[in-house]
């Protein structure tokens, strides 16, 4: 009797595992937005502060080791309503760099945005931006093969209509890279969340 019960339990376990595999992969495919990889900072080239140069370059990848983000960068502009545009080529995997502002590494506030999630609530490229901390490192690799290093100085939440756009987009007092994504609660009537998360970073100079 006891042997039968043991076999029954084992059978139940096997059946449940088998049934969970039907219709999809055994483990639901949560989209991974980048390979988790520790960057050997010592091997990268730090770009010193520079004035706007005549060399044509653009950011290619955004890498944030602390939250496992390693994403391609698209150029984005503005929408008809003056909002910063979001990536369109690969909306959920790419990060958008505002190409009307400075490049990462140039004086001023370079800005990148990325989606928090995709329709249905599954993670997108900046899902884990909310897990960042002051002091975290942010890396940008550009088309010239240079790696530009930044460090997080502030993390803030704003209602979008009350956000300090001069502070986010228009600080010419140094070299900054600011990251933006959505946060807070979804408001169906407005088709947006009630908050935006802004991660402020400053250039690391060796």
């Amino acid at each position: 009797m006891k042997a039968f019960r043991l076999r029954a339990h084992l059978f139940a376990v096997v059946m449940i595992v088998a049934l969970s595999s039907c219709g999809s992969a055994a483990i639901p495919e949560v989209p991974m937005v980048g390979v988790s990889r520790i960057i050997d900072a010592g091997a990268s080239t730090t770009v010193l502060p520079k004035r706007k140069s005549n060399t044509i370059s653009h950011p290619m990848r955004l890498i944030i080791p602390s939250v496992a983000i390693d994403a391609p960068v698209e150029e984005v502009g503005t929408q008809a309503n003056a909002d910063l545009a979001t990536p369109t080529q690969n909306p959920w995997q790419d990060v958008g760099w505002y190409d009307q502002g400075p490049q990462p590494g140039e004086r001023g506030s370079a800005v990148m945005d990325g989606h928090l999630d995709r329709p249905g609530g599954f993670p997108a490229v900046f899902w884990r931006l909310r897990d960042m901390h002051v002091g975290d490192e942010v890396l940008v690799r550009n088309s010239l093969g240079e790696t530009i290093r930044f460090r997080v100085t502030r993390i803030e939440l704003f209602p979008p209509q009350d956000a300090p756009i001069q502070d986010i987009f228009g600080n010419w007092g140094g070299i900054y890279l600011n990251l933006i994504t959505c946060a807070g609660d979804w408001i169906p009537s407005q088709h947006q969340t009630n908050l935006r998360l802004v991660v402020y970073t400053s250039l690391v100079v060796k």
Binding site: V30, A85, G121, Q166, I168, N171, W172, C182
Partner: protein, 285 residues
């Protein structure tokens, strides 16, 4: 018999461990985001020297020299300063803070951009005039604003090549932001004292241009137009998605997710029941 009891215990532990890990992973994946405490953003201030009385000056903020040899008609870019009250003092160049001819407290709010004008043609009329700015861009068009800082020009109007855009802007006042098609213009400012001034400017798309009327109609420095153009700034993006949207992709993912949760919960139940059964067996012995 002992081997059967041990295998039952091991199976129970395995089911319980796998099940708990699975349930924990599921809840962590869809846990609500943490909220971060708001921090005060700095204010942004640009300064224009519009006082015919002062001449070239040094400007001090909270006892520290901010601007040196600041000439009449000069306008700075926006500089970040902490929000809150600040003591602003203006002295003739090289005379030191102790010889300040103007001393005022300037209170600025977080995240707000300001134009601060040093004004006044006489010692008794020296004062700071503060304007709240908005550098939000207008997509594909240019924005324009007139600041009337000439003490004796009266109310002024602004036109572009004869097209009147705004009128009745009084001393120490600024117009609303005007939206205008990008292009090269001859901007005209007419004062009530039959004084007309013109300046050529290229108004680029997505920029914000400020036109300052400074100086004296009757006296020196003469009335003149000073322009300053800033890059317009976008509003924040909409980077969220409807969590309740049903798509073909997330239909499959959602179903798989729930099956996984049920499977793991079942393993927890089986593991727990094996341990309970083991407990009662031991209690009977």
């Amino acid at each position: 018999m002992e081997m059967k009891r041990n295998s039952g215990t091991l199976i129970g532990m395995l089911c319980l461990t796998i099940g708990m890990i699975g349930v924990l992973a599921f809840t962590m994946l869809f846990s609500p985001p943490k909220k971060t405490a708001l921090a005060a953003s700095p204010s942004y201030v640009r300064v224009i020297h519009a006082s015919p009385f002062v001449g070239t000056a040094d400007v001090f903020v909270d006892g520290t020299k901010l601007l040196s040899s600041f000439q009449f008609g000069a306008v700075t870019g926006y500089v970040a300063i902490p929000a809150g009250p600040h003591k602003v003092q203006i002295a003739l160049v090289g005379r030191g803070i102790g010889a300040s001819v103007l001393s005022e407290t300037l209170a600025v709010s977080p995240g707000v951009a300001y134009t601060v004008a040093a004004t006044g043609a006489t010692p008794s009329s020296l004062a700071l005039q503060v304007f709240i700015d908005s550098n939000l861009l207008s997509p594909g068009t240019a924005r324009l604003r007139l600041y009337q800082l000439s003490p004796d020009a009266g109310s002024v109007s602004l036109d572009t090549g004869g097209d009147s855009l705004v009128s009745g802007v009084g001393y120490k006042s600024a117009s609303n932001y005007l939206t205008i098609a990008p292009g090269s213009y001859t901007i005209g400012v007419d004062a009530t004292s039959n004084t007309s001034l013109h300046v050529s400017a290229t108004l680029k798309a997505n920029t914000v241009t400020s036109v300052f009327a400074v100086g004296l109609v009757h006296g020196t420095p003469n009335i003149q137009l000073v322009t300053s153009q800033a890059q317009g700034l976008p509003a924040l993006p909409n980077t969220g998605s409807d969590p309740n949207a049903i798509t073909q992709e997330n239909n499959v993912q959602s179903l798989a997710g729930w099956v996984w949760l049920v499977a793991c919960s079942s393993l927890v139940f089986i593991g727990s029941s094996l341990f309970v059964r083991r407990f009662f067996l031991l209690a009977r012995q």
